[in-house]
Symmetry: none
Amino acid sequence: MKQQGKKILIVDDEPSIRDMIAVALEMAGFQCIEAATAKDAYALVVDEKPQMILLDWMLPGTSGIELARRLKRDELCNDVPIIMLTAKSEEDNKILGLEAGADDYITKPFSPRELVARLKAVLRRTTPQGIEEPIQVDGLTLDPIRHRVSANDEQLDIGPTEFRLLQFFMTHQERAYSRTQLLDQVWGGNVYVEERTVDVHIRRLRKTLGVNFDYLIQTVRGTGYRFSQKPK
Amino acid sequence: MKQQGKKILIVDDEPSIRDMIAVALEMAGFQCIEAATAKDAYALVVDEKPQMILLDWMLPGTSGIELARRLKRDELCNDVPIIMLTAKSEEDNKILGLEAGADDYITKPFSPRELVARLKAVLRRTTPQGIEEPIQVDGLTLDPIRHRVSANDEQLDIGPTEFRLLQFFMTHQERAYSRTQLLDQVWGGNVYVEERTVDVHIRRLRKTLGVNFDYLIQTVRGTGYRFSQKPK
DNA sequence: ATTGTCATGTCACACAATTGTCATATATTA
DNA sequence: TAATATATGACAATTGTGTGACATGACAAT
């Protein structure tokens, strides 16, 4: 099943509903993580980097809509699609939900089949924007689906971390990132590694890119690194 | 890293644990204050206004979670992030902790590294950096995001300190600053550097700006320097 | 189990850029 | 012209990065 890598975060205060959804999604080949509150959810988004969020409208404490707004404002996660779950009676509010940054909404009660269908639809809509399409710069191509990198049509042998690092850089060009930011974005928020480790992976990446393309990975002294086509 | 200045309040009834944590944090450049009870902690929060609170779940008297709730309800300190410290066996309660307003939690025992990492992560989350727009004057552009300076579309090679200096000037134009003020603003308040050093960096900055743009950095004799578009 | 291969994170050292300071030159003011 | 303030070049100490090597742990094949 090709959806199996996708991690879905389910946010709802009702454990029974969460589980129901989780079971349905897992049968469809998704991976699920759950949260009961907005705070909890936020922590999980940062730590686990889910590919999609199912968000209940009504939550104790910070409401779902507020959380959605916050996530969409946050540089770190504004590209994670959100589906709002609303009760029938709240349907009027759907406009608000979409305004807050939700990519779709489903009114409760819903069938598992409907949920999965909409979820896939949203994923289809939102992923091609960068996760699926090959990215090309100069003569360097990164193909996210095939998980391959080539320089002038020649395959490069690249490790997983270097791949993610390069992918991040190629989707965030022309911008300086600190080592900490790179750790957050590429490694994820829940790993604790030395900042200097970034240097090592930068070096490995440069090495595999070779002399023709390592100019793309630029050192910004005192700050971090930058991916840029323009020479330093 | 400029984590210094951040004040962390450690609340735990075990002095040995408090000290252990304090040592770890101080090595990471944080400033620590300690409290053994919820009561003391509350007083310190009010008096010292820490930027962050490490709060043990189990406390004699008012429990940690109760304190968290109280703080989060309080207008004065509901924006101070809280990290809960819980024993492994209490892990189930983490949801409760997050509900009470904690921003993260760590289960004991934890490594100093993990603690520091999570702490920094929470601080990063709660102090979002403002979006910085490129600044342009005449034909000179400084882009904080890309960390680049260009004169008429030509990249300039500029050192870190000169970059900060120029950034400060461009965001504070048409005003004379004394060397001391520049040291405070650009170098940071707590560094001991000769005043004359400013002159040297001014010269370096002028040099990299070149003859077309060095007129922007003007000497104000007897006072200091000024960034101004108007010719002297 | 055992071995072998990766991928990863960390360290120590090599190397390079930046920084602060000084001595000296030049400019400005009274 | 003397007195004061700023500009400039040189240099050594400091700081930040690059790089190779190593230990560890995951995993697959044996």
